[in-house]
């Protein structure tokens, strides 16, 4: 049966409450943190106390003497079970335990295994490690030309053809450089009426999933089962199989609900260490991090962005140059992909004929940075939308009108040369301006409380090319099980996937049971990341369900059911098998088309399967005596295609915006000489209920992603894009000062106010 003749069962556009809501609210939902296996040992990690140094000596004698300690493990032991113990999705640069040297504070150096987690922790603190400090580098710009080199030699994973040229490079901290050139920027700058140049910075922050990383490995009978709070079970299976030299089918990765992920739990995190420990101990081993340890595990890139634009006499941007430096920390993780993929859109959602982009992933001696809800894009939007507002102001043009004049429209080529399709950029800007009543007068406050408003708009290319596979099983009674490897970490994917399968099958979403990811059961999926799942897995689920429906139709025909007879599915099975027996399995596999960027120009005719567009508007109030910023209203408008579940889409947008609000106003990992000064939630603050704007709104514009499942596309990251520049733009509107570095603390605003008044605050 083709999709066109299918009768809708009304599952699309239905705000079905999340299917797991009851289990979570009643505490019945299972998390890996609660899992205990018989004979299990607990591992606790002894971590580096220096940012860069040679390991001279590890003295574990006192630790080993503590009653209850099973064993102390160092890199040497790891080598006895894993010959080449280095991992990573883009570079094989990260040792399972530090070997010979450490590259950041908090790097795992040794592990204590004990029957009791408290004993393990006590013993881990009793391990003495001596280091010979090496010169270290922490700033991304300094690291570009630093005598301190984090990795002696670059080790890109063989799997990516575009990283091959980096293999064996030495004497550099640049892990990846991506360059894009289109048009003739030099000529355009020479001919420009106006030239604007600015520099913006963002700080290192943490994902802060409320469930910290946890992995439990159980190696037995020539195989290993890994229970892990991971967003990428299939990747973990492949990477562990590679490390062990085993076939994939001897590695099983199971997840449960995740207490948040936000990109912290992608690729291998604790899994390789847990597997090695279990192989060494011949017992199940659990590694469960504390909130504090997460700060040393993965974070979001700090960045510097130098941006320069040429504008003609009509207010058209004719050229833009972007230099983006991502501070990747000590290990590449997925940073090279962040630098490259975000590089595609560094010039912003504008129709600019001449562009030059240079995007760098840089090693430093900070804790590693990876993907965090936006894959580098919020750092870019922060810069290009602050820059765009500055230009509009300097030219005396209205920020909305100036944007509209330059906006990238469907049918026009974007920076990479890829022609825009199904990207509702104009609609997002229009709805934002309408919601903010942009053309109406605005209350500017009084006395020492000044008000202002601002907006910003950003977009992102989805990660590509990636694959999702799903299967749908129809049991003999007509009930349905969906096997899909998408990990539900609170974003509501289980509910949305059930809705898609149900729509394709013509049944109610409540009748579909979704099996949690288990690589022995659920087919391959690239990972739950980058807002890719609803689109990629959604398409695979739809295809699988359609396949099952076609097979049901064939079964009906085979058993002589006349078309349109509306015979219950169970009856069709009974007719075929003579009893309640049999299964129909539908399979679906989805990979979108993609063309890699040209190695010389960075251009590609097909950069992404879909575009995500997110705009934000902010109304703020500034206390001019203290610099305190209050966000009175935060409006988020997005192109999410046709929402499958509007209720979930709204909470995704709002949740993302609140997360970005914390990154905008106060979250910051503070370092002194590579030592993190605030590795705890007592000193690293995330937004609380009293930080919420008085009004927070979310809207999706009318749009459809033609290639998406029922017109839908991803939305998990969209709400983060534009929040920071919208707030900075509103602050300038209110009090006339420009903040170019995140976070925008009250002190930063106050200092800017004093500078603007020619009365700089002196540090005594």
């Amino acid at each position: 049966m083709s999709d066109a003749t299918r009768v809708s069962s009304g599952q699309i556009g239905r705000s079905l409450p999340r299917v797991e809501a009851r289990a979570k609210v009643t505490g019945a939902a299972e998390y890996i943190h609660n899992l205990r296996l018989p004979g299990m040992l607990y591992g606790k990690i002894c971590r580096s106390t220096v940012p860069h140094g040679r390991i001279l000596r590890i003295d574990a004698s006192a630790a080993a003497a503590i009653p209850g300690v099973h064993r102390i493990v160092t890199a040497e032991d790891i080598r006895t079970v894993i010959a080449e113990p280095y991992y990573g999705p883009a570079f094989h640069d990260q040792p399972i335990l530090a070997e010979g040297k450490v590259r950041h504070v908090g790097e795992p150096v040794a592990v204590v295994l004990a029957t009791d987690p408290h004993i393990a922790e006590e013993a881990a603190q009793a391990i003495v490690v001596e280091y010979a400090p090496l010169p270290a580098v922490f700033d991304e710009i300094e690291a570009m030309n630093s005598a301190a080199i984090v990795h002696d030699i670059l080790k890109p994973a063989g799997t990516f053809p575009d990283l091959k040229h980096l293999a064996g490079r030495s004497g550099t901290n640049v892990a990846l450089d991506f360059h894009l050139r289109r048009g003739d920027t030099e000529r355009a700058f020479a001919a420009a009426e106006h030239i604007f140049e600015h520099s913006f910075r963002t700080q290192q922050v943490m994902h802060t999933p409320l469930e910290p990383h946890v992995s439990l490995a159980d190696a037995a009978d020539g195989g290993v089962t890994i229970h892990s709070a991971t967003q990428t079970p299939s990747f973990v299976r492949i990477e562990i199989a590679r490390l062990l030299g085993w076939p994939e089918n001897r590695v099983r990765v199971k997840t449960a609900f995740l207490g948040g992920g936000f990109g912290a739990k992608v690729y291998v995190k604790l899994e390789a260490l847990a597997v090695a420990l279990s192989l060494l101990a011949r017992r199940p081993v659990k590694l469960a991090l504390t909130m504090e340890e997460q700060f040393f595990t993965i974070s979001k890139h700090a960045s510097t962005f130098r941006i320069k634009s040429a504008v003609d006499g009509h207010g058209h941007i004719t050229a833009r140059q972007c230099q983006v430096f991502y501070n990747g920390g000590a290990y590449a993780d997925i940073g090279p992909r962040v630098a490259q993929k975000s590089g595609f859109t560094a010039t912003g959602p504008y129709d600019i004929p001449n562009v030059a982009i240079d995007s760098y992933e840089i090693y430093t001696n900070r804790p590693p940075a990876g993907a965090l809800r936006g894959f580098g894009v919020p750092q870019l939007v922060w810069a290009y939308e602050s820059h765009t507002d500055l230009i509009a102001r300097a030219l005396g043009r209205d920020p909305v009108e100036f944007r509209r004049r330059n906006l990238l429209r469907d049918g026009a080529p974007q920076a990479t040369g890829t022609v825009m399709r199904d990207a509702a950029i104009s609609a997002v800007l229009d709805r934002l301006a309408a919601r903010l009543a942009w053309d109406q007068p605005f209350d500017r406050g009084a006395g020492t409380l000044k008000r202002g408003r601002g907006l910003a708009i950003g977009f992102k290319a989805s990660i590509s090319p990636t694959t999702s596979v799903a299967t749908v099983a129809i049991a003999a009674d007509g009930s349905c099980i969906l096997y899909c490897g998408t990990v539900d970490m609170g974003q509501g994917s289980t509910t949305a996937m059930a809705q898609i399968a149900a729509e394709a099958l013509g049944i109610e979403a409540e009748a579909v049971r979704v099996v949690a990811p288990d690589t022995d059961v659920t087919p391959y999926d690239m990972g739950t990341l980058g807002s890719r799942s609803l689109f990629h897995m959604g398409n695979a689920v739809r295809l699988a369900a359609q396949d099952a429906r076609d097979k049901l139709a064939a079964l009906a025909a085979e058993t002589g059911v006349p078309p349109g007879a509306n015979l219950p599915i169970s009856e069709q099975f009974r007719r075929k098998y003579g009893m309640q027996a049999g299964t129909i399995v539908g399979a679906g596999s989805y990979i979108p088309a993609y063309a890699p960027p040209d190695s010389a120009t960075g251009l590609t005719p097909n950069a992404t399967p879909f575009w995500m567009v997110g705009g934000a508007g902010a109304e703020v109030e500034i206390d001019t005596e203290t610099g305190r910023v209050r966000v009175l209203r935060l409006v988020n408008v997005a192109d999410a295609g046709t929402p499958i579940n509007p209720g979930i889409v709204e909470t995704q947008l709002t949740g993302a915006a609140i997360m970005q609000l914390g990154f905008t106003l106060f979250e910051e990992m503070q370092f002194t000489d590579g030592q993190l000064r605030n590795p705890s939630l007592a000193e690293y603050k995330i937004p609380g209920i009293r930080d919420m704007p008085d009004r927070i709104e979310a809207e999706t514009v009318d749009s459809a992603q033609q290639s998406g499942p029922y017109g839908a596309k991803g939305v998990g990251e969209t709400g983060t894009f534009a929040v920071s520049p919208a707030i900075a733009n509103a602050i300038e509107d209110a009090v006339g000062v420009r903040i170019s570095e995140l976070p925008i603390t009250a002190e930063a605003v106050y200092r800017a106010l004093r500078r603007a008044a020619g009365d700089q605050l002196e540090d005594l």
């Binding site: 106003l665 106060f666 603050k685 609380g688």
Partner: protein, 288 residues
Amino acid sequence: MTPFELEEPVLLGAALALLDPEDSSVRAIAGGTALMLMMKSGLYRPRRLVSLRKLAPALDGVRSAPDGGIEIGAMVRLSDLRRSAVVRAAAPVIAETLLTHSNVRVRNVATIGGNLAQGDPHMDLPPVLIALGASVRLAGPGGERIVRVEDLLTGYLETVIANNELITAVIVPPQTGWRTAYAKVTARSADDWPALGLAVSVRVEAGIARDARIAIGAATETAMRLPGTEALLAGRAIDDALLQEAGRAAAAEAPVVADHHGSASYKRVLVAVHLGRALRQTIAGAER
């Protein structure tokens, strides 16, 4: 966390006897909200903890004193303090301060005794209690002594409480004629510990500040009074010029330190601004 002894005495004398004057690895535990964090991070490893839980009946309750003041048992939980009608009548600023203090889970177990004994400069109550002129009762093997809260706290996590002494109660004197306001200023999340806590008590008669007690916390190494600023206010007619002058004086007087919350020079600005605002609030209250 390594094993330790846990004692739960029912009599104050027994509790005091279980403490060890020489050994700081023996400590009292009340709500445990501060102590458990230090134990989890390995900062504190107890040999023995003396729980005050079963002493609670004797150390509980908020009572009105005959002089119009109040006496708060050391084991009174912050959430009970916040709800106490006696507190609201005699010193409403305490209840107001607790509204934005930590969170409901902490307030439901944390005690006022533990709050003061911890000696953490980033706490909200110490400056408030100092501005109210409060004292604590300290019980020791040799008997009882009374110490003003401003003399109790001597430095970062340091107090004058001996290892074998316990706070049994907090005494708040009558506040007749006095108005108190507390400014909690956070620099990051609104749910944060204070970057600056500023408590201001004034006795105003006919537009003249007869007397003032000004206490600062969080921005300094320990909560303390600002006597120079108090003296500047005494006997002066209250107007905008005076409030500005007092703000500048307090900013100059307070030994403000830099930390995660901000630089010292910025916190001085906060002191100047919020002193004026808090004073204005007390005066507005007095005239109502």
